[in-house]
Amino acid sequence: MTRAARVVVVGASIGGLTAAETLRQEGFDGEIVLIGDERHLPYNRPPLSKQILLGDWEPHQAAIRTAAEAADLAIELRTSCSALALDVAAHLVRTTQGEIAFDELVIATGSEPRRHPLLSTALTLRTMDDALALRDEMRSARRVGIVGAGVLGSEVASAARKNDTDVVLVGRSGALRFGAVGTLLSKRLVALHQNHGVRLRLSESILGAERTANGTRVLLADGDETVDLLVAMIGSTPRTAWLASSALRIADGIVCDSAGRAAPGVSAVGDVAAWEDPFTGLPARVEHQSNAIEQAIAVAIRIVRGQLGTAPVPLFWSEIHGTRIQACGWFPSDRTLVSPAGEDAPSPSLLQSTDDEGRVRGVVGWDAAPREFRAARGTVLTATSILTPS
C-alpha cells in the first residue's frame, strides 16, 4: 500500500504539518521530513491578528504541536531550515541544512506580505515574531495608521482600538474587503468600524511617508496623517522565489491540477498552491487556513492510498470589534448577498450568495449563533465534500 519511502514536506505551518500528520495517520510507514524556516514549532496563524495582537494569548497558546508530539508520530521536524532550490527531475531539495532526496514532495511554503513600495518603514504581519513586534509597538502608540482595506487591516484596526488609540485605516479602493467575500460586506464593515471609532480614509492615494520629530507622517492626496505606528497590510504573494530555477510552472502560485499535483512526485498545498478550480478550470489560490488543511489532507491521502479527494469548500472567519464574521463557500462579485429570510429582516445575521438556479453557493454569518451558521453551511456543502457528515 505504501508507495513512497521518504516524503519531504517543505513548510511547517498548518498545511505542511497537516500533510505530515495525515500521512502517518493513514498508515504511511516511510520517513517524513518536515522543514520550516521559522525558529518556532508549528503554530496557528489566525490568532496572530486576533488573540496574540490583543494580548489575550501568549505565544505558547497558539502552538499546535510540541516537538515531543511530532516525535511520537515519527516526523523529523527541522526548524530554522529554509528550502533554497528544487530539482524536480532528480527528486532533490536543497536546503540551508543540506540536500534532501525525496520520493514525494509536498510544498507548503505559504505566502508573505506584499511590501508597499512607498512605505518601507511600515510594519506588517505574517509570522509570530511580526505579531509580537506589532503587539509591543501598539502598547505605546497613541496614533496608529493602517494601510490596506482587507480583513487583516480591519483586524489590526480592531485590536488597536481596544486601547482607545486613535486609529486611521487608509485604503486605495473605496470599499473594505473581507477575504473571499470581496467587497460584498463593505457597507456593514464600514459601519462597524465607524461605530467603534476607527477613522476611515478610503479611495485615498498614498504618496509616501516620512519620519518627523512628531512621528511618521503619511503623505496622502487628501491631507496627511501623522502616526506613532504605521502598519501596511496590502495583500500577500506566494513564496515561490526558491522555485525559480525549478521546472515547476509558477504563475500566481504553483500551478497544480485539481488534485494538487505540480509535477510527478511533487504536490503543493495552501497559500502557495494554485489548484485548478473545479468550476472555472483555471488555477486559483485560496488564502484561507481551512483550505490549506483540507488540501493537505487530500494530498496525503492520495500519496498513501492513491485515491483522489475532492475540492475543499472555502471557510473563513474573523472577529472585528467583537463581531464574529464567518464565510463559507463561493461569492461571485456580481451576486449581491441576500438574507435567506427574505428582504424584510433589517440586519440579518445570515446572508447568502445564490446562483441563477437559486442554489446556495456561499453563506455569511454576521454575529450568527454557532449552531445557526453551521446549519447554514450545510446548505452550501455538496455531497462530494470531505466535510460531509458520515
Partner: protein, 64 residues
C-alpha cells in the same frame, strides 16, 4: 477516555461540530463542547476526521 478537547486552544471554527455532530457542539461563543467522550464505529471515525480538520489541534482522539 477516547476523545479529549482543549477548550482553551479552540478558535471556534466549528469544523468538528459539522463533521461529527454526535460528538461535538459549540457554546454561544463558538467554543467546542464535548458531547460524547467515548464514540464507537462510524462516529469514532467522524471524530477522528474532526481532529484532523481542527485548525487549533484542540481535539485528541485515542485510537482503540
Amino acid at each position: 477516555m477516547g476523545v479529549v478537547v482543549q477548550r482553551g486552544a479552540c478558535v471556534g471554527a466549528g469544523q468538528c461540530a459539522l463533521v461529527a455532530p454526535d460528538v461535538f457542539d459549540q457554546d454561544n461563543d463558538g467554543i467546542v463542547l464535548l458531547l460524547e467522550p467515548d464514540p464507537e464505529g462510524a462516529i469514532l471515525l467522524a471524530a477522528t476526521r474532526a481532529a484532523r480538520l481542527c485548525p487549533a489541534r484542540a481535539i485528541t482522539v485515542a485510537q482503540p
